[in-house]
């Protein structure tokens, strides 16, 4: 598959590009120039033909909802909303069949930890721009999916663990990079069933993704059933 991965300077996007590069034709993109061995195309994700050219011929877009923590609040919100809109608009015009939006389980952190929170629960975002940006990105993606203009799989990711040897307590919503990569790769090709009561294709699917750690906070059975996601057991 031809795969476009946004936010190309982030550790996750670079990890995904590296892991997926063996079996897929991967292009990384970012608003700034990025050092990478993967194919890279710089893009502002603006409302112009350069964004169309970026997505043309792509089979799947992996769009990260993460925003630059060093950027201003206004810039973070702008990227989260307008750039996501531009990207999906271009994707629809170029008939890209699938978008995987990388969101955050932090959107559900407002619930008590002893609650069996799943994808059926309403997100409770704070006004902190870091998490609000994910929520607003989901909002944009959902409207495109609702109009059935494109299929969007939203993966709400746990807290990424880049250094498993750092010591200290592991987050109850930890997500190791190999599990994250597996989830994305499964989402790229999964055909999620519509359900019992309709034959209409579901264009909006949400899955919670975290690793199997002790006292794991979020249930991932939907991802296991719907995507075939199989996180490795961690001690």
């Amino acid at each position: 598959m031809k795969v476009l991965i946004t936010n190309g300077g982030s550790p996750l996007s670079q990890e995904l590009a590296s892991a997926l590069g063996d079996g897929h034709e991967v292009t990384l993109t970012a608003r700034e120039q990025v050092q990478t061995s993967a194919k890279f195309v710089q893009s502002d994700l603006g409302h112009d033909q350069t964004t169309n050219a970026l997505v043309k011929g792509v089979d799947a877009i992996v769009h990260s909802g993460d925003t630059d923590p060093k950027a201003s609040v206004s810039n973070r919100l702008d990227v989260a909303m307008r750039c996501t809109y531009n990207l999906l608009w271009a994707a629809v015009e170029e008939r890209v069949p699938r978008v995987i939006f990388l969101s955050s389980l932090g959107l559900l952190d407002g619930y008590d930890e002893d609650l069996a929170v799943t994808e059926r629960w309403r997100p409770v975002p704070p006004t902190d721009p870091a998490l609000l940006s994910f929520h607003l990105g989901e909002y944009v993606c959902r409207e495109f999916a609702r109009e059935r203009r494109i299929s969007v799989t939203c993966l709400r990711l746990g807290t990424l663990i880049w250094d498993s040897n750092s010591g200290g307590a592991i987050s109850s919503q930890a997500l190791y990079p190999d599990d994250a990569t597996q989830a994305v790769e499964r989402a790229m090709s999964a055909e999620v069933p519509s359900g019992t009561w309709t034959t209409a294709a579901r264009t909006w699917n949400v899955f919670h993704i975290q690793s199997s750690v002790p006292d794991a906070r979020y249930l991932t059975s939907a991802a296991q059933d719907g995507l075939g996601y199989s996180p490795s057991q961690r001690a």
Binding site: V73, T127, L136
Partner: protein
């Protein structure tokens, strides 16, 4: 009754201070006329205002620092800012403008924000093309139209702020504005979300007047349009909760002209 949540017009001893963002647009002058006798107004707009008896500050609603600065000393914010066709500016004003207004409200302890938008901020094509008696308390489905989605994102930002901070948002939804003596299409029917400029402006007086403790939640939306028989949308909530009543039903549009 806490001072901050008391009906704005009932705070004795001083006029209350109302910040209007986008005061020089289409609706702005009508809102100013409706409010100026009861409140002290600080008008703002990205465009110059030729002359006004009220305080005026040039402010870009898409600029967080400017909005936060101009909100100091205010008791309520009325957000009339809107931009429709340009993609960058639409996101700047319609979406981020709401973030800026809400951030300013929280920063300055302002507990009442009146937001505005078209009906498809909430009821986009997936409702409007199919349903009747559409009330404002439905889950938002704006669709992907630029104006609709940017306004809807702004409203969602407002809602998130009300869930996290002690601030109320009353959102007034409009669509078509008409002069009371508009006879441009008598008997030809019209958009079933139409209201006269004067009745629209009057809704803002009610939104500023209502005791915030009487609102069902910190984020409430109201459909504002004339009393018409179409039953495509419902304005019942605005009448029941705000006590707003349209005075002109624009009957010339939806009743056939009698011959002779």
């Amino acid at each position: 009754m806490a001072w901050a949540t008391a009906p704005v017009s009932e705070r004795r001893g001083s006029k209350v201070n109302v910040l209007i963002l986008g005061a020089n647009g289409q609706l702005g002058p009508h809102v100013v006329r409706a409010l100026e006798s009861e409140h002290r107004l600080r008008l703002t707009d990205v465009n110059d205002l030729e002359s006004s008896p009220h305080e005026y500050v040039k402010v870009d609603a898409g600029n967080l620092e400017q909005v936060e600065a101009v909100a100091e000393g205010m008791d309520a914010i009325v957000n009339l800012s809107v931009l429709r066709p340009d993609r960058q500016i639409a996101f700047d004003v319609n979406a981020r403008g709401c973030y800026n207004a809400m951030a300013a409200a929280v920063r300055h302890g302002i507990h009442r924000v009146i937001n505005t938008g078209p009906h498809f901020t909430i009821a986009g094509p997936t409702y409007e093309w199919f349903d009747y008696a559409i009330n404002p308390d439905i889950p938002p489905q704006s669709g992907t139209g630029l104006y609709a989605l940017t306004k809807s994102l702004g409203q969602e930002i407002c809602r998130v702020f009300t869930e996290n901070h002690d601030v109320h948002v009353l959102t007034l939804l409009f669509y078509n504005f008409r002069e009371a003596d508009d006879h441009s299409a008598d008997g030809q029917d019209f958009t079933p979300f139409s209201v006269t400029w004067g009745d629209a402006a009057e809704a803002f007086r009610h939104a500023l007047r209502i005791d915030l403790e009487r609102l069902p939640s910190r984020c409430e939306i109201f459909n504002i349009f004339a009393d018409i028989p179409h039953d495509r949308f419902s304005s019942e909530k605005a009448k029941r909760i705000l006590g707003w009543q349209p005075t002109n039903q624009l009957e010339q549009f939806w009743r056939k002209a009698r011959p002779g």
